[in-house]
Symmetry: D2
Subunit: 140 residues, 4 copies
């Protein structure tokens, strides 16, 4: 698909994604199978140890997975995800997620996502597998 079509699909996907809005996700780059996104960590995302709750970095990576895998305009849902936490995240940190496609078949897509902070420290590494349905997101 042309780059403008991929962007239209992802805009449609994110327009109604209320939790990605709450997270404050911004899309920096997107193409079929990959994306770069960013977000800024806020106080209300902290856990009881005064670092970001693990669910925040995971949700950020999971949004990157949705954006990278749905750009083909073929509705794709996460089956299996794993995340390694490598460094704590603090309030005010600016996170960047970079999603790349490892493998793509008609039914299954596999993606890796690296999450770094403003100091280019890796804070997490995510692997996700999606099931690709036969539905479209936008009619062509």
């Amino acid at each position: 698909m042309p780059s403008s079509s991929v962007k239209a699909v992802i805009n449609h996907l994110l327009k109604n994604d209320r939790f990605s809005s709450w997270l404050g996700i911004e899309v920096l780059e997107v193409s079929e199978g990959s994306c770069k996104i960013s977000m800024t960590i806020r106080d209300e995302m902290m856990n009881g140890f005064n670092i970001a709750h693990g669910g925040i970095a995971f949700a950020f990576a999971d949004s990157a997975l949705a954006i990278a895998s749905n750009g083909y305009n073929k509705l794709s849902v996460a089956l299996e995800t794993s995340m390694t936490f490598t460094s704590p995240v603090k309030s005010g940190d600016i996170l960047m997620a970079s999603a790349d496609e490892i493998s793509l078949t008609n039914k299954i897509g596999v993606y890796q996502i690296l999450i770094t902070n403003q100091d280019e420290v890796t804070i997490g590494f995510f692997k996700g597998t999606v099931y690709r349905t036969t539905k479209t997101l936008l009619e062509s």
Copy 2:
């Protein structure tokens, strides 16, 4: 530790956990190495497909991991997590997470967490590994 001490440690942990508060997590049962918790899914937790964002069920499981693993009053942080998504979650659903310990050594704890909804449908299955530090949460 006596049950009252485990509860005191977990109350201390959750008192300052702002994101678990946002999620609306309630602790139903807790002991060293296990817990049962619940939460209710709200509209603001939806993704662009009008089902709960994957980060919500993950965050819920990750809170269960923190509660089950920190009850020993030995500060424990997630190293590695994985989650299988087995059924979609909708607004208004009431989720229950049940966390059990698979293995515990001085440095490492391993937990499985089953997430079900109000109809007892399994919506996700989580495995988490924590690193156990030498710090305490509450002074004895």
Copy 3:
């Protein structure tokens, strides 16, 4: 399916499974979605630290995944697997794997497998997701 049919499917599956034969896998119990299997660890399975190579316990769990998921006579292949190693395995150890179904849909099955040794120590914990094809293993 009747229990005898499940056993016929699994016998057919294992008859030609040369690597499971090399491992020395014995099926103790099998039904649709679950199984118990055992094997004995040999010197040639050791790694450079004189404990069993991680691939051995993984392969044992992966065979349990195949046995538990293929008992429906619907050819099922592993998509995603994860394994936590909780205790070392030595030559002469007798391992037991117990596989249980977490979730089953038309296309996807999810299984957990606990691996213990002869002293009932947990040596690994495995989670596996299979894709269920439309092919059968045995004609009915």
Copy 4:
């Protein structure tokens, strides 16, 4: 460490690794935190579907994890591993594993390993987390 020392550590590691010998692993490149290795798939590695047993590709990746993580001469053991299977492996295939370090702290190392065949098709993607002990492999 100088490159010759890393090689000496890895030679020592592999010298007594009987299962990696059975697999037929050859080390093409090694440095602290990374490696490239290869192996050839044989008939006795097949499963009941006449493709390589999942434990074979996993074991190959797990050996790559050991080689990449132990090159620092700091004994490192796998805690947590996951593997996505993306394409079947057949007898006669020549596999290549490429291991890269995602994160390294005093206690924990995280690695990703891509496995491809002779046609440069990705057949699996592995993520592994090791615990780094205070023991050395070779005395300096």
